[in-house]
């Protein structure tokens, strides 16, 4: 079973994402900011990360930059999932090494479509 780390400071978003991902037969874990997510990845590198942009302590962009420097940190597929919906943010995220980008709000169909796109389902 593939492991997904959901990184978002909103407990509601984490809950919604977990419910959808559980239904898609992923093993889901959660982190509420970039620093905690980085610690989680250092302990066990997931197959994919659903990543918010704006978070306290460490934002998603900085997390991604540091993740890719970790041993095995280039392996996880990273899907940004954020309210930032302008082309500049999207381009910046993709340039930084994200694999896909979801603009909130999202639903199961969007999540499924993006995960299919990066070969996770």
């Amino acid at each position: 079973m593939k492991q997904i780390l959901v990184v978002d400071d909103s407990a509601v978003i984490r809950k919604i994402a977990r419910r959808i991902l559980d239904g898609m037969r992923f093993e889901t874990s959660e982190a509420e900011d970039g620093a905690k997510a980085l610690a989680a990845c250092a302990f066990l590198m997931p197959d994919a990360i659903l990543l918010d942009w704006n978070m306290p302590v460490m934002d998603g962009f900085e997390f991604l930059r540091q993740l890719r420097k970790l041993p095995g940190g280039t392996r996880p597929k990273v899907v940004f999932c954020t309210t930032e919906n302008d082309i500049t943010h999207i381009a910046r995220a993709m340039h930084a090494g994200a694999d896909e980008y979801i603009m909130k709000p999202f639903d199961k169909q969007i999540l499924q479509s993006k995960f299919e796109e990066i070969g996770l389902v």
Partner: protein, 269 residues
């Protein structure tokens, strides 16, 4: 006396070939409810009574549109588009090497995501297609869907269903809450209103037809008839793509499945 629902079923069958099961009255009620207010009548029954007695073309069109589904998204089911790029396009590049022209028909194009997905793939293959003329004709029975398709403007949900973000960045412009497809791709698609029950013999010839999730509305005889008439507007070595859950089983002998590639069909000899 014929019930209002029975008369609706007769109307849909005669006007658009649409077969509505006898036990779907609840669906008709819910789908036609918005038209009750629009046409200022007291109930769905009253709406259907007016449908029977008036020749109001707007009402007749709106009822058909309300009873059909416009569900679609970019690169829907993905496999047909991979097959287009990897099998159909290379084959047509060989088959049409002399005339250097390809004509594609997207029947039942709804709000345009299917023909625009093909237009994006053609753009991505621009180098192979240099010097070629590729036409995409996209038809639908719904004028509302076609109006939307011509705009090429989609909301945030629509551009995230099936569309890779790389394509979004490459081909769309963010305009307020909408995302608008680039002009050069919109210009590639010719949208036209078409009822599949009408004579479409003048539209051909085509090299590829996408006819996905339309046949589900028709009865067996109509499906066979439509597939035969589609074959008649296609070149002898043309390709036909049906919906993911649709097969040719029991649907006449105009087309047959491709020997190797499931999901693509070719003209039967």
């Amino acid at each position: 006396m014929i019930s209002a629902y029975a008369s609706l079923r007769t109307y849909l069958k005669n006007a658009a070939g649409i077969v509505l099961d006898a036990d779907r009255e609840y669906m008709a009620e819910s789908r036609l409810a918005p038209l009750v207010r629009k046409f200022d009548v007291s109930s769905v029954d009253a709406l259907l009574a007016r449908l029977n007695t008036s020749n109001d073309p707007r009402l007749r069109q709106d009822v058909i549109e309300a009873m059909t589904t416009n569900e679609t998204y970019f690169f829907r089911d993905r496999a047909p588009f991979d097959m287009f790029e990897n099998l159909v396009l290379p084959a047509l590049l060989e088959q049409r090497a002399e005339e250097r022209a390809i004509r594609v028909w997207c029947a039942g194009c709804s709000t345009g995501q299917e023909p625009y997905s093909l237009a994006m793939l053609l753009d991505a293959n621009a180098r192979r297609l240099a010097g070629w003329r590729v036409e995409i004709l996209a038809t639908d029975i719904s004028t509302a869907a076609l109006d939307s398709a011509r705009q090429g403007s989609y909301n945030q949900f629509e551009v995230q269903r099936g569309l890779p973000v790389s394509q979004l960045l490459r081909y769309f412009v963010h305009e307020g809450s909408q995302w608008r497809l680039a002009e050069h791709l919109r210009a590639r698609v010719d949208f036209r209103e078409l009822n599949m029950m009408s004579d479409f013999s003048a539209l051909g010839p085509f090299d590829l037809v996408f006819c996905r999730n339309i046949l589900i509305y028709f009865d067996q005889a109509t499906k066979i008839d439509v597939l035969r008439r589609v074959a008649n507007v296609c070149r002898p070595d043309a390709f036909l793509v049906l919906g993911a859950a649709e097969t040719l089983v029991g649907l006449g002998n105009a087309w047959k499945p491709h020997a190797i590639h499931r999901g693509v069909n070719i003209r039967a000899a």
